[in-house]
């Protein structure tokens, strides 16, 4: 796996300094942020390497596509700056280790990738997926490993991601429908940034769902409900896909309510922050996020990322908001029991 394609000149010529200016956590205004980013690029120490909470947002803020977050992650590891306690890091690295316990359905050239998210084994069924199921893959062998950005370990990604892609290739898969933003981000953002070739066509599941909903429009029963939407960090790796959520909501008769932490201003679910040991910050993030959702008046909170769902879902229930994954929401609109 290659070097990160980071162009220092783009930062030198930057006039917006958005990457860290817009950051909710590092909070470096104007040229100060730019300076820190340049220090990081040149291999110097920077406070950012210690204060970044890995929300991925700067990947979206940088309009030049210069991958500030990947750079931060690379340099953290290079400098031996641990952002999570060592045992937690070990736990997560062990978690993603391929152990030969993967599952594959009846594979065709186009397949669904569940990554390593067991919830998809239950959620992905019904009319929405019937033209591709049971062609699916699941397990560590198909886990994109991008999550290790949260742990400041790009080396793990660089070591494992090519093997994962090879695993897809060996099965003759030509098109991969990614059910998690992180996988899609791995193949469309991270792999190119590190100069890795992707031997298949990645498809974001929002694209797939939209197409299916169009095909199934006669069967859609508009839900007529108000929902809030929790945008996950990994969606920052593929911003255009994020905006398809609105189209999905429109097609199933769902009203997306306005909330403060929407779109580019989305707020982290807090769970990774907790893993980093930042208890107070994690609590604050979750409290603010949940209050914002409750205030929005939504009946449901729709999740894209199963981990945001796990982090916030049970807390939202206590506040009277029903958590639901977007796949379940679409299936509900198709009259299926979820």
């Amino acid at each position: 796996m290659g070097e990160l394609r980071f162009n220092e000149n783009l930062c030198l010529n930057c006039t917006t300094f958005d990457c860290l200016k817009k950051c909710k956590f590092v909070k470096l205004n104007g040229a100060k942020g730019n300076l820190e980013m340049l220090k990081i690029a040149r291999g110097e120490d920077s406070t950012v390497l210690r204060t970044c909470i890995t929300c991925y947002a700067c990947e979206e803020y940088c309009e030049k596509g210069n991958h500030p977050f990947y750079l931060i992650s690379e340099k953290r590891e290079e400098k031996g700056i641990d952002i999570v306690p060592r045992p937690i890091l070990k736990q997560w690295i062990n978690l993603g280790e391929p152990v030969g316990r993967y599952k594959v359905g009846e594979l065709r050239e186009k397949t669904l990738s569940f990554g390593f998210v067991p919830e998809f084994l239950q959620w992905v069924k019904g009319k929405l997926f019937e033209d591709v199921m049971p062609s699916y893959v699941f397990g560590q062998e198909f886990f994109c490993n991008v999550a290790y950005l949260h742990f400041g370990r790009t080396s793990v990604i660089k070591q494992r991601l090519p093997i994962v892609m090879d695993n897809f290739s060996k099965l003759g898969i030509k098109e991969v429908i990614c059910l998690h933003d992180e996988c899609y981000g791995a193949f469309t953002s991270l792999a190119p940034a590190f100069g890795i070739e992707v031997p298949f066509k990645p498809i974001h599941y929002y694209e797939y769902i939209l197409k299916r909903l169009e095909q199934l429009k006669d069967k859609i029963r508009p839900l007529n409900i108000k929902v809030a939407y929790q945008r996950p960090c990994s969606s920052r790796l593929s911003p255009p896909m994020h905006y398809l959520a609105r189209e999905i909501f429109t097609s199933i008769g769902v009203e997306l309510v306005d909330r403060v932490y929407q779109d580019e201003n989305a707020l982290c679910c807090g769970e990774v922050v907790r893993l980093q040991g930042l208890y107070d910050l994690a609590e604050e993030l979750q409290r603010e996020n949940i209050e914002d959702i409750v205030k929005s008046g939504a009946e449901y909170c729709v999740f894209n990322c199963p981990y945001c769902y796990a982090a916030l879902g049970h807390k939202l229930i206590k506040k009277g908001v029903k958590p639901i994954h977007i796949i379940e929401l679409c299936r509900m609109a198709l009259g299926e029991e979820v």
Binding site: D82, V84, P85, R86, P87, I88, K90, Q91, N94, L95, E97, V99, E271, R274, L275, G277, Y279, A310, G313, H314, K318
Partner: protein, 461 residues
């Protein structure tokens, strides 16, 4: 088997509750652990104290052994009738006799299961609970205290035997003896104080000094909510410091530790499960925060951290008893595990872990370490557990050899065996203070002169 004894037993308990069939003798001659089998001659299921008195008198007259049995779950062969005789299965005596809600105690019969009491309290006294062990729910309360079991409240209040509040015991002579406040009062609130505490004549003796037919145990507040956080570290040397800090908070219900190499997610780390309770969200969250803050220094040094216990994982950990403990038996798809669970200082954790890994490698066995903190960390139970495949004789033998090495190690490290096998009991006797041994012998010889009570256990002669 003597027909005359069988007839006498039938006379006492009724024909349908006495068996000399090969099938019952086979089953009651075994337990799920590694002990060698030894069949009884008779199995009897008495219904009340009077029947037990008669059985004990009969056994004394005939000079045959009797072995009282709860659910037979010690795993260390404590209820295997090594010298044959009569197994008294206590499980028909499972009535819950009285709950004193305000004084927080319950009186049960000697065969009452943990599960039944748990369900009864949940339904009728939702603000009360007892210290539920992680043994399967068939485990009886009496057998659990007789082996000094531990449970969900042991971190706060001590061994389950410390929570006994009174007993009715059938002595080896067949006489009945009451132990504790119930000896002089209608109320079963204390096992000893302010009287001379004679509960020690029975607790820890594995039925070699008497059979508990009634038992009172203390109950404690049951809060509406219960949650856990799991603190993870790969530095075993820090375990006792971490436990010291957590117990200092006085906010914690139960603390258990587990370490195992599989699944990989658990590899290389020790997992300290910290349970806490509350009647309100605020109380629960306050305690959570206090616990987090207590361990902040370990997080800052990156030596440890709280893992993410996803909501889907929580039922497994919050389950009482924890069913996943039994599942360890099937790790090798072979229906067996045994553990030696000495009681020792928390600071011995790293040495125990090293020994466990060493033996696992040496004997090629799947291992699991499980520890429970007792009584504000005065000590802990550390389980050296090995899974084995019952159908693989070589593996069973390897597990036996590993356990034998564990036994030696426990003595070296200053531990005291918990529910020891007969061999471990012998080791204890070898190492015990001579004055103590003399006193134990006096007690045993005086109480059970014919040595009919669960013989071969605490063999002091």
């Amino acid at each position: 088997m003597k027909e005359s004894i069988k007839s006498a037993l039938i006379e006492i308990a009724g024909e349908e509750y006495v068996s000399t069939f090969e099938e019952e003798l086979y089953f009651y001659g075994r337990d799920p652990g590694l002990s060698f089998p030894s069949n009884p001659h008779y199995v009897v299921l008495p219904e009340n104290t009077e029947e037990i008195q008669q059985i004990v008198r009969l056994a004394n007259k005939e000079g045959i052994p009797i072995v009282p049995l709860g659910a037979g779950l010690s795993l260390t062969g404590l209820a295997i009738p090594r010298r044959g005789g009569i197994v008294i299965d206590m499980k028909r005596m499972d009535r819950i006799l009285e709950v004193n809600e305000k004084a927080r105690f319950v009186i049960v019969e000697g065969g009452t299961s943990q599960g039944k009491l748990q369900a009864y309290l949940e339904k009728h006294y939702p603000r009360l609970r007892h210290s539920i062990p992680d043994a399967p729910p068939t485990a009886t309360i009496a057998a659990n205290v007789v082996i000094h079991g531990q449970g969900r409240l042991s971190q706060q209040y001590g061994f389950n035997s410390d929570l006994v509040a009174g007993m009715e015991v059938v002595l080896p002579s067949g006489e009945i003896c009451k132990v504790g406040s119930c000896a002089v009062s209608p109320y079963w609130f204390s096992k000893g104080p302010p009287l001379p505490d004679i509960s020690g004549l029975f607790l820890g003796w594995f039925g070699t000094t008497g059979i508990i037919t009634k038992l009172a145990i203390k109950l404690y507040p049951r809060k509406k909510m219960r949650d856990l956080e799991i603190f993870v570290t790969d530095n075993e040397n820090l375990i006792s410091d971490i436990i010291y800090e957590v117990t200092h908070t006085e906010m914690v219900e139960d603390i258990t530790i587990f370490a195992q190499p599989w699944p990989l997610f658990f590899k290389d780390n020790s997992h300290i499960c910290i349970y806490f309770t509350g009647d309100t969200e605020e109380e629960l969250e306050f305690k959570r925060r206090v616990i987090w803050k207590a361990l902040e220094k370990f997080i800052e040094s990156k030596e440890g951290g709280f893992m993410w216990v996803q909501p889907s994982m929580k039922p497994t950990f919050l389950d009482m008893p924890q069913r996943s403990v039994a599942r360890f038996a099937d790790v090798k798809r072979g229906g067996g595990f045994e553990y030696s669970g000495p009681i020792l200082l928390v600071e011995k954790y790293p040495e125990c872990m090293r020994k466990l890994r060493e033996l696992s490698t040496k004997y090629n066995l799947a291992y699991s370490a499980m520890a429970r903190i007792i009584d504000t960390a005065h000590c802990m139970m550390f389980a050296f557990a090995f899974a084995f495949n019952r159908a693989d004789e070589d593996m069973v033998e390897r597990a036996r050899r590993a356990m034998a090495e564990v036994s030696k190690f426990i003595i070296e490290v200053g531990g005291v065996f918990w529910k020891p096998t007969v061999e471990e009991q012998k080791l204890t006797i070898e190492h015990i203070d001579s004055g103590t041994l003399k006193l134990l012998k006096m007690i045993k010889n005086h109480l059970d002169p014919n040595n009919i009570m669960n013989p071969s256990n605490w063999e002091l002669r």
